[in-house]
């Protein structure tokens, strides 16, 4: 072929709108980690990654009958639009649920949302301009960080220890933010059975945290998906129970009933609630009536407290299997938290071993986890991994931990040969 025979070259960029996206969409790119998670969903892989509830433990026949009856008796409501604030009957039932954590709320204070994720999105939407500061635990829930990033917030992480958020670290973060000429808009916290850290904010610290925030005029966003899934004693007292002026409480039925119904809620001071309702209206017009009525019927006609007890026992057995397997099999240099409830163990790898770099080898060894980097806004946390025990059976958990231990052994050898992986600090 000669030059003359060459047809004119066409420039192709696949996406003709590439120059037109908003700045906030620039970071939305394909990633190796997401590609690996696509493999982790396969049954051949023991996934300690997920974060999904074990919905098979539900009384599915009874739930099915209940839904059939709901449509037969209230189909014209369940299949119709509703108000943006959410079904009044459901909001009454939500008050019953929150009473278990000592919250006294009126149904009018509640906004029903699409899981608590939508509440996070709406709160960020009404409070955050690009560059505004949000304080959040280190590490923090990946879904919240995603919502914050989508509104271009600056997240300042606040250290935790085994008793949760450290009050002195919070004071220091507030002081440092102010010294930079900025004011944090809110503190985002998961006080109970933290995702991903597995720790719980000690009772003795709760008043102190509220006091610090009140003094600084800082709104507290209390995200509490796991509060009713403690393994010992009564559910921890909610922060909102002690301060209904400066705490926005977020709840969800994803872990206590079914993640698939996508029903959560926010309880907020009146002015904030009003703005949230308007924001919700512009986002989704109204939430699914069908989902809301399903949850309302579930809370009205089904033994939901018994179900929560069943979930607790199931997750306690899996937590025990995880901790005992870690104790027996993990190589020296690994440390982990011991959750008193919820779904997660936060594993610290030996110095110089990077959980993100290790993930492909883990997937090849047919075990998956979530690298710690996803739980820090700045992508640090490479030395940590989140292990979720809610889905696999105790036997699968033990086998998964065995595989993971072997992968870590190999990484230790690689570290010794090549030096620490960058990003492990």
């Amino acid at each position: 072929m000669t030059t003359e025979e060459q047809p004119a070259s066409q420039r192709q960029r696949v996406d003709p709108y590439v120059g037109q996206y908003a700045e906030r969409a620039v970071g939305m790119v394909a990633s190796e980690i997401r590609a690996l998670f696509a493999v982790a969903a396969r049954p051949e892989i023991i996934s300690l990654a997920g974060g999904s509830p074990f919905v098979s433990a539900l009384r599915l026949d009874a739930v099915g009958d209940m839904i059939g009856q709901l449509i037969a008796e209230h189909g014209e409501v369940a299949l119709q639009y509703c108000t943006a604030q959410g079904d009044a009957g459901l909001r009454e039932r939500i008050c019953d649920v929150m009473a278990l954590e000592q919250i006294r709320a009126h149904p009018d204070e509640i906004l029903v949302t699409v899981g608590s994720q939508q509440a996070l999105d709406l709160l960020t939407r009404i409070f955050i301009d690009p560059g505004d500061v949000i304080l959040a635990e280190a590490p923090s829930y990946v879904g919240a960080l995603g919502a914050f990033a989508s509104y271009q917030a600056t997240v300042v992480h606040v250290a935790m220890d085994d008793d949760g958020l450290i009050p002195e670290a919070l004071e220091e973060a507030i002081r440092r933010t102010a010294a930079d000429g900025r004011r944090a808009k809110f503190l985002y916290t998961v006080p109970n059975f933290h995702n991903p850290a597995g720790v719980t904010l000690a009772a003795a610290r709760r008043h102190r945290i509220l006091e610090i925030c009140q003094r600084a005029g800082l709104l507290v966003v209390e995200d509490n998906p796991y509060g009713l899934l403690g393994f010992d004693g009564e559910p921890p007292r909610a922060l909102r129970a002690d301060d209904d002026h400066s705490v926005v409480y977020l709840g969800t039925f994803s872990k206590t009933f079914a993640a698939g119904v996508r029903v959560g809620w926010a309880v907020a001071p009146t002015a904030i609630r009003d703005k949230l309702i308007l924001a919700a209206e512009s986002a989704v017009l109204c939430h699914s009536s069908f989902s809301q009525l399903t949850v309302r019927e579930y809370l009205t006609t089904q033994p939901w407290l018994e179900q929560i007890k069943d979930f607790r026992e199931l997750y306690r057995e899996r937590r025990d299997a995880t901790l005992s397997a870690l104790e027996t099999m993990m190589p020296p240099g690994c440390h982990w938290t011991r959750p008193g409830g919820g779904f997660f163990v936060w594993l610290k790898l030996p110095d110089g071993v990077n959980a993100k770099a290790m993930l492909p080898r883990a997937i090849s060894s047919r075990v998956a986890y979530v690298p710690g980097t996803g739980f820090y806004a700045d992508g640090s946390g490479g030395q940590y991994a989140r292990l979720c025990y809610s889905l696999p059976s105790p036997d699968r958990i033990r086998e998964g931990v065995r595989r993971l231990a072997s992968v870590i052994e190999t990484e230790i050898q690689l570290r010794d040969d090549f030096g620490p992986t960058p990003g492990t600090r």
Binding site: T3, V29, A35, F418
Partner: protein, 317 residues
């Protein structure tokens, strides 16, 4: 035989390229459906053998990328079951998928390849990584390009500009496989050339030139629409365009590939063409280069898939 009753598009698998493969598979399935072919997507899992035996398809179109899809394993299985399939036979896949083997074979056929060494991680462990790294730099110099000896989509692969970057690059590489192919980095124009054989011998499709942004043609650049610019045909002088086409067809023949393949090449500033790697199961996603090249050469993507399946069905197991 021109009639296809039902075809199976094999996609997924358990490699890190699963997601890409599923996207490829669904695109092939949709194109076949549009061409009036009854096509379903199936994964390479415990259900596959049952499905193949219970309801044997006219032919299978494997688009599993990475290990098991490209290392020949799944094609060996299809051969055992006696199911006709599109693409190269297992033994050819094994040679193409193992990059050092493919390099050696095409080099023996007179194609230029970057100077390289292939080393397993145990060698670094046994002989001492620091001494090995010194030796590699002394021999190959800088910059280098490191990649796992088996695998695709640039997973675990990347350039090394300084000696200090080499340990981290090897760590990334060893996360995806235990053997590293360490090549001299050849700066130049990156092109990829599809080869298709619709019954009258392997023909090169127009070369596609890849212009990646900052960060190079990594995973994100490959699968984020708009992150990379492609030029079809590549902006090459006529004689170089002819040379890349010749090398792609030669690679296809030397490795014993069948039906379709894609060869990745670099053209340096002197016009020398270097072989980088060959792919037996090229990506078929909306950002993949083979479908782009098919379209640029006037082939309908769907009709090409149908024709390849017809040829496979006629060929038999």
């Amino acid at each position: 035989m021109d009639e296809l009753d039902r075809v199976l598009v094999l996609a997924g698998g358990l490699s890190a390229e699963r997601e890409v493969s599923l996207r490829s598979g669904h695109r092939v399935r949709d194109a076949l459906a549009e061409a009036g072919i009854d096509a379903v997507v199936a994964d390479a899992d415990a259900e596959l053998l049952v499905q193949l035996r219970a309801d044997p398809p006219s032919a299978v179109f494997p688009v599993i990328h990475g290990a098991s899809g490209e290392d020949g394993a799944i094609r060996e299985v299809l051969g055992l079951v006696g199911t006709p399939y599109v693409g190269s036979v297992a033994s050819a896949c094994q040679m193409a998928f193992d990059k050092p083997t493919a390099n050696a074979l095409v080099a023996a056929a007179g194609v230029t390849t970057p100077q390289s060494v292939t080393l397993p991680r145990e060698t670094f462990h046994d002989l001492g990584a620091a001494a090995m790294i010194d030796l590699i730099i002394a021999r190959l110099g800088l910059p280098l390009y490191i990649k796992p000896s088996r695998g695709g989509s640039a997973l675990g692969a990347g350039p090394v500009l300084t000696t200090a970057d080499l340990p981290a690059a090897l760590l990334s590489c060893f996360a995806y496989g235990d053997i590293a192919l360490i090549e001299r980095f050849i700066p130049g124009t990156e092109v990829t050339v599809g080869v298709i054989d619709l019954g009258d011998g392997p023909q090169a499709l127009p070369a596609v030139e890849i212009v990646a942004g900052e960060g190079g043609y990594d995973y994100a650049a490959r699968y984020t629409a708009g992150k990379t610019e492609f030029y079809v045909p590549a902006r090459l002088p006529g004689e170089v365009a002819a040379e890349v086409a010749r090398i792609a067809v030669a690679t296809h023949s030397v490795l014993g590939l069948r039906d379709l393949s894609r060869t990745d090449l670099i053209v340096d500033e002197t016009g020398t063409v270097y072989f980088l790697e060959a792919n037996v199961s090229p990506g078929m996603t909306e950002t993949s280069t083979l479908p782009m090249a098919l379209e640029a050469s006037g082939h309908s993507f769907g009709n090409t898939c149908v024709r390849l399946l017809q040829l496979a069905a006629a060929r038999g197991a």
